[in-house]
């Protein structure tokens, strides 16, 4: 690329300089051209200010310590196990207890039976779930940030 003092850097050449891939000709031009140099310095100044502010902002955010997370997870396991056992007990014993102790249901004429209630309830639930699925399945490029371009793991980096 041939550049001289009379023709300023193109936006593309300037971007290459900013991302560290500027050509020798671009750098030679920058050394002579205060206007192009000012554009580079303006960008670098703005980014530097952003970096300072974003760093301070991030450091000021309240965060849980890793120790807290680990402790919470360790504590959570027995608690979760107890809840799971209680839930299992309720599922097994609950229906039997209901049949023994509950008063016999009396249906007035025209009132839906329990089976009919269940079917309509299931239909309502299914409709609700369908609507929720539709709501969360809205395609949005914002969320497709790396889809299709990166596998879960790749050479040189393995997570758990």
């Amino acid at each position: 690329m041939k550049l001289d003092i009379h023709s300023h850097l193109s936006d593309e050449a300037l971007d290459d300089v900013l991302i560290g891939l500027g050509s020798l000709a671009s750098h030679a031009h920058l050394a002579q051209c205060p206007q192009c140099r000012a554009r580079v310095e303006s960008f670098q100044t703005t980014v530097d200010l952003f970096n300072q502010a974003s760093r301070q902002f991030s450091e000021a955010q309240p965060v849980k310590t890793l120790e807290t997370v680990r402790t919470r997870r360790v504590i959570a396991r027995p608690v979760l196990a107890a809840w799971a056992a209680a839930a299992a007990l309720l599922v097994v014993v609950g229906p039997a207890a209901w049949h023994v102790f509950a008063p016999h249901p009396v249906h007035a004429p025209g009132v839906a039976t329990q089976a009919q209630d269940s079917e309509s309830q299931i239909a309502e639930d299914n409709e609700l779930l369908r609507q929720v699925n539709a709501a969360i399945a809205v395609p949005d490029d914002e969320y497709h940030w790396l889809d299709g371009s990166i596998p879960q793991t790749h050479p040189g980096m393995r997570t758990e």
Partner: protein, 202 residues
């Protein structure tokens, strides 16, 4: 970021007989100390996650998950890149997992959590500048963040990795498992957006 230097003349044998370089052993000990891991990388990863996702609450979870995964998976670190690049790669994976989850998408639609540009800019250190200079500097920060917010998460992430994390194109490409040309393309698009929205001064 440079990859770890491997000097074969200084190779040592690990306990299980594998050949291990001194530099890798040093890095492994760095990863073994979770407090050191947090001290060196927490703020950096939190900033990357915060400004990639635009969601400080989510960034907190991502940072925690990333550091825990790095600590628990430290034996998987092979030393073929710097620890920073390795952990950044984990953060990218964790972030992607969070962004893909239906739960995140659902809550993102019903609530608005985000970064307050004015609040963020107010964290800019004054460092002896006049009130006018401080206001001008804060305005620049606000304007840049407003532009970055309009980018896709992918472009914003790459922009931050390059200009905030000061990562080399090759390291960004490695962390994202992309071609370097793809990374360059995203950077050019991001810079074009910045230029078009902030004016010809940049």
């Amino acid at each position: 970021m440079a990859t770890l230097p491997i000097n074969t003349a200084q190779m040592a044998f690990a306990e299980d007989g594998r050949v291990e370089s001194p530099s890798r052993k040093a890095v492994i000990s760095e990863l073994d100390d979770i407090d050191e891991l947090v001290r060196l990388h927490q703020a950096r990863i939190r900033r990357l996650a915060t400004f990639s996702t635009g969601d400080p609450d989510l960034a907190d979870s991502i940072t925690q998950d990333t550091l825990l995964r790095a600590y628990r998976g430290r034996e998987n670190f092979r030393g073929d890149c710097s620890v920073s690049t390795w952990i950044t790669g984990i953060a990218i994976n964790v972030t992607r997992d969070h962004l893909r989850s239906p739960r995140f998408k659902f809550w993102k639609q019903v609530q608005t959590t985000g970064i307050d540009a004015h609040e963020m800019a107010s964290f800019l250190p004054a460092r002896g500048s006049t009130p006018e200079q401080s206001l001008l500097a804060q305005e620049k920060v606000r304007q840049l963040w407003k532009v970055l917010e309009t980018l896709s998460v992918k472009q914003r992430t790459i922009f931050i990795m390059k200009f905030s994390e000061d990562m080399a194109i090759e390291d960004i490409a490695k962390a994202l498992d992309m071609q370097t040309t793809t990374v360059r393309t995203h950077l050019h698009r991001a810079l074009k957006a910045v230029r078009s929205q902030l004016g010809a001064a940049i």
